[in-house]
Amino acid sequence: MHHINPSIKAGTVTIAAIVIAFLFDPLALLLYIGWTIAVTLLFGKVQIKKYLLYLLPFTLFAVGMLVSTLLFAKTPENPSITQQFLLWELPRETVQDALALAIRVFSYSTLSLLFVLTTDKVAFILSLIQQCRVSPKLAYGILAGYRFLPLLKDELTTIRSAHLIRGAKTKTSRFSRYKQYTIPLLASAIRKAERTAIAMESKGFTGERDRTFYRTYNTSWTDWIFAAVMLGAIALCIIVSKSFQ
């Protein structure tokens, strides 16, 4: 999994997500979720514990979707056909809609996790330049910016302390406090960005596409097999689900 070309992986996941958007069969979706999780855990070398931890917030979100769709559903066309769901007797249509929606949200989460947990960020960005012809200027800019995130967090803590010690009022409104922090934070972010840009240019970076690569990312037949299998699995899930009904 980690060796699948990141661009192809991203493309496959995106296409799968689009196809799923038009799939309303809860059983087929459930099967596909099972498939995605299995692929992630078996071929992605992801620890189960870590995986479940990441999945938890998405699960809560999906359950939330389920409950709210059940409670605030539109009036069904055939209210007489009902179905036992957990403790309630609810119109079957409502239950189906709600389940389909919640399951879809859940399957998006498993797909995203499949990508995020098995892909190196740097590899993804470098592969975007090499396979998807993304401009190096943009891609290396994102990489450089990525380095800044932890720095900015530290800086915000420092600014907060520095203002505290000046006796700046802490009980002012949240908005004016953010304004107070924004100016020094922005000033230093701009300065840092400028310095990094200068350092990059000083190493001969021009933003042109014409450059060599230390880490080359190629597409091989395994990448295409991965794409075919992931997308083919959707069709398979639909067929299996149909055969049950």
């Binding site: 010690i165 000046r166 230093s188 990094t196 060599t212």
Partner: protein, 537 residues
Amino acid sequence: MTQALLEVDQLTVTFEEESTPTLDDLSFTVQEGESILLLGPSGSGKSTLTYCLNGLYPKELDGKMSGSIYFAGSKIEDFKSGKINLEVGTVFQDPETQFCMLTVEDEIAFGLENKKISPDLMESEIDRVLSLVGLQHRKKDQIHTLSGGQKQKLALAAVLALEPRLLILDEPTANLDPAASKDLVETIRHLKEEQEITLLIIEHNIDYWLPIINRTMLLDQDGSLFFDGDLSEAVNMYDEELQQRGIWLPEAALLAKQAQLPKPWPLTIDLLPPDLQFQTKTSEVLQKKEQIIQVENAVFRNKEKVLLDIPALTIKHGEFLAITGKNGSGKTLLSRQITGLLKPTAGDIEVLGKKLRRWKTNELYQQIGYVFQNPEHQFLTDSVWNEIAFGQAVNADEIQRVLEDIQLAAQADKHPFTLSQGQKRRLSVSTMLVQKPQLLVLDEPTFGQDSHTTEVLMDLIWRHHQRGCTIVMITHDMELVDRFASRVLIVDQGRIVADDQPAGIWKRKDLSDYGLSLPAKEAYNKRTQEDSLYASY
């Protein structure tokens, strides 16, 4: 005559919003193999010159540039985009903002990719430059795990990979502790022996570079070339002018001046004559007995490890305490703990006889002040005047007096962010002092400042200390420790490893283990003692 590597002819740069040029009619030539030290007061256009030489200007310049620069006989503008950067490499001062990749090898590869080197050759090239700077063992590591000194070596390696003929070092040691600075200079000296490379070194700290440089250029405040020749000549002919412009003299020359030796003054301690007498520190504030800070068993840890472990520490009223040690040893962390800015994971800290958690925040910060490393972090208002007036019941005369004291009266209406580096620093220290705190903590107040700002600052701090303010100052500057501190703490890996008066500290043999060095006076005394020891044999 061989062709000059670099020829600058009547270079003038004027920024759009400025009325006077930043670089004024600059002409000089650089021969292959020279090592040039470029000195100048802050704001004299040293960095601007760097950008002109490596081709960033006029491309990125908001303003006008006239005159011409020839590199190896061709005009810099005639180089293809990106090509001049491969000939002129630059190492900048801030270790945090020079990189765009996440790992050491990728960062070096970035330059090689720009140079369009075949991927097959990259690996060996990366190994070559890493071994030049002694970082082979960190090849696969994440950049953020490197120390400041290692980051600067990586920046150097990344530039060396491009095989430049001219290497510009733009204050590369400005953010390093003394030992890391010496180590970096040693690396560059070694490099210079290994390969033919021309160096242009911009620095505040002349002393480190003495073994390398063979020519000195001085820029004046107005961006014109004021001197070009031998450093010894510059120091001996223009010492007054240099000091007026805030340029640091070599420590040996300062000692010679103090001892009123006749010129010419030597540049290194080794060349000073024996038996010089220096004034020792006279004014010691009478120490009151009460303690202002008391720490008991304070521990601060993050998820992985203990970052600070202080079994006991007492700071008394009227002390001038210097905290020193390597970069990243926990000095700043300690200072944040004793001021309540960061709560310890376990243990007790008392300030003025009251536990930290019993203090109300605003009352506590009436009593103690803290000056942060970056002055901009502390500015709250939109003018210099308002900064001083903020939260204080002081009248206009008082504010005016304070502003004159820190030589900022003319800038009273300016936005604090638009001030120069030294001005910002003076203002931030002053905002803490107007409230007359009982304890003032300063985190590297003189870092990267010119000698002028350092003098003004230390004078200000010293006067408040005389009035009774207890001072805790984090610093790498051993000269300041020697001149001002009444007590020194050395922090290493989150622990206090030494707590003594300066005289006791200088006797230790393990200073370099903690990133420290001897102040010039002590280095001189040590040398003369050793000399007399030899003589007695």
